[in-house]
Amino acid sequence: MQKIANILKKQITSTIIAIIFGFIVAAIILAATGYSPADAFTAMFEGIFSRPKYISNVIIKSTPIILTGLSVAFAFKTGLFNMGAEGQYIMSSVFATIVGIKLDLPPVLQIPMVILAGVFAGAVYGAVVGYLKARFGIHEVITSIMLNWVALYFSNFIVSLKTFHQPNSTATFTVNESSFTTILHKWKVSPEGIAWLKEHPTIMDVLLKTDVNIGIIVAIIMVIVISILLNRTTKGYELKAVGFNKDAAEFAGINVKKNILHSMIIAGAIAGLAGALSVTGVQPHRISTMAAFENYGFNGLSVALIAANSPIGCLFAGLLFAGLLYGGQSIQSTIGAPSEVINIMIGTIVFFVALTRIVPVLADKLAKRGEKHAH
């Protein structure tokens, strides 16, 4: 009994249960609407794993949502609800694009400049939310929701400006090639590169057909950095203390307002990193007019929830999320079932993540019952 209880107490167990429920509900819905769940899931898994190119695409697509997920998870750990990751992402991609177009330095300088511009924009945008909360006590969810829209229109405004707008398109110019963080982007289209790749079809499939970039490495590093910051440093302890109990933290001599501001700056910077890396790493290396949100930030919210706000968890949750979204497209193209079944599945997973948070509590009860029987 104790053993079962211990397994059930582990966070990962509830998460896996939630994911299984997601698949079950999706299967029921598919079956009820006349599609074969087995065929659908086969199509999905083939869409993720059957070719190296697909796996590569899933990893590329996971990069921004791992980072926005990390941003949300970090804020959650410090007691803040960063619904503004969407806006921070947008602001970052805007400023990364501006700097990427206007500046043309050698890559060693250009890439850091472009990425820093984006990170800085995200951090400032996060800081606004943190400042308004710390100084005026305005709920971070309201300011975030409002600022997301401001960011969307600001981005559209920048796209419309003559200096950035590419004529006859709904987008800006692409950023200068020196800002690309795509791996071997010059070599892979050069004659020698193509000649070499022709002899190595697997690598060619990945390198030529997908935008392999350094993003995922940066994301993994960030996950580690944030883990260390939260769990191994004084600053992290202060931030978490403020999140856990503001009054107790204040009593212990921690400056609550300063920590709220710092937390939002860091969260904004992480979401900003996602935006900047998307501009430098992925086609079309520019921003376009948006009619609605592209959901990088909002998907980050789901990622953080599935990850139970653990930084390492965000890495896996982000990969899962990207896999489902990317592989899910194959469901529609192969068996014709609406690909939105994936959105229902993700919604169900998140729903059961909420429900299964009580599994550890139940496990405790189970363990106690076990003790009683033992006596």
Partner: protein, 306 residues
């Protein structure tokens, strides 16, 4: 001049109506102690079901009713999670948002030959002065019947919350469920009713978009209104009249944007579009400041806990 003013009023009311319904839904749920961040998803479901039933039955009123029922049904999920299972209400609400848009688009593809847009409904909900108005002034404030419905709902909810014993019960459950429980109020039942009602309001709000303002469901028919409504709940300090005011203010700012954008105004339209959002933040800084939620908002009730 008067024509312009009437037009401004008309557009203000039009924009604010879906928000008011969503906001009222938020108020009733949170007043009973359950955070409802899933308004957006409930509105999306309402928007789709309203348009779909309105199209197939050719009766917009049936569509509106069905939208309310659908909103209530998905809210039931939120209620089960957050009341019975004592789940994290924020997470459950976000799940509702994901499910709302997922289910709507999935069903839309099934019912409308694979399209994510429904076909336009044959009859929209009526306007208050009927469809044939020749007077130019009246034309501008010939608003949808949902505008009146929203006002009636806001007044009703205010009356119920502050002037009836049910309202007192709801508020006490949201402030201090343990005290309410000792007085013999059924905390669980009260919260269930309130959360389901919040879904009904949100569903109707969604349908007021697709059955009155536009005439079909599109993936962007509900894009953020639920979140604006959520902000309005906090802005309006968790009261029906406060939320009504907050939504009208927001609608007014959007109407200004539309009217100013129409003329040859120097400011680019993208910058103008930011106005409602920036205005909300500025007003919060200047006048509202800190607002405090009902004490037990978001806290699951455990019998015997203090």
């Amino acid at each position: 001049m008067l024509t312009k003013l009437f037009l401004l009023i008309g557009i203000t009311l039009m924009y604010s109506t879906p928000l008011i319904f969503g906001g009222l839904g938020g108020v009733i749920s949170e007043r009973s102690g359950v955070i409802n961040i899933g308004i957006e998803g409930m509105m999306t479901i309402g928007a789709f079901v309203g348009a779909c039933v309105g199209y197939y039955t050719e009766n917009p009123w049936l569509g509106l009713l069905a939208a309310g029922a659908a909103g209530g049904l998905i809210a039931l999920l939120h209620a089960v999670a957050s009341i019975t299972f004592k789940a994290d209400q924020t997470i459950s609400g976000i799940a509702i948002n994901l499910l709302g848009s997922g289910v709507s688009l999935f069903l839309c593809r099934l019912f409308f030959e694979g399209a994510t847009m429904s076909k336009p409904v044959p009859h929209k909900l009526p306007k208050i002065f009927g469809s044939h108005v020749s007077n130019n002034l009246l034309k501008n404030i010939n608003v949808d019947v949902t505008v009146v419905l929203a006002l009636v709902c806001a007044i009703l909810l205010w009356f119920v919350l502050y002037k009836t014993k049910w309202g007192l019960r709801i508020r006490s459950v949201g402030e201090h469920p343990a005290a309410a429980d000792t007085l013999g109020i059924n905390v669980t039942l009260t919260r269930y009713v309130c959360v389901i009602l919040s879904g009904v309001f949100a569903g109707v709000g969604g349908a007021s978009m697709t059955l009155a303002i536009i005439s079909n469901f599109t993936p962007t028919a509900i894009s953020g209104q639920g979140f604006i409504a959520l902000a309005a709940v906090i802005f309006g300090k968790w009261s029906p009249h406060g939320v009504y005011g907050a939504c009208i203010l927001f609608g007014f700012a959007q109407a200004l944007t539309v009217l100013l954008g129409g003329g040859n105004f120097v400011v680019p339209s993208e910058i103008l579009s930011m106005l409602p959002y920036i205005l909300t933040i500025v007003i919060l800084i200047l006048f509202v400041g800190k607002s405090s939620a009902p004490k037990a908002d978001g806290v699951p009730y455990e019998k015997g806990s203090r």
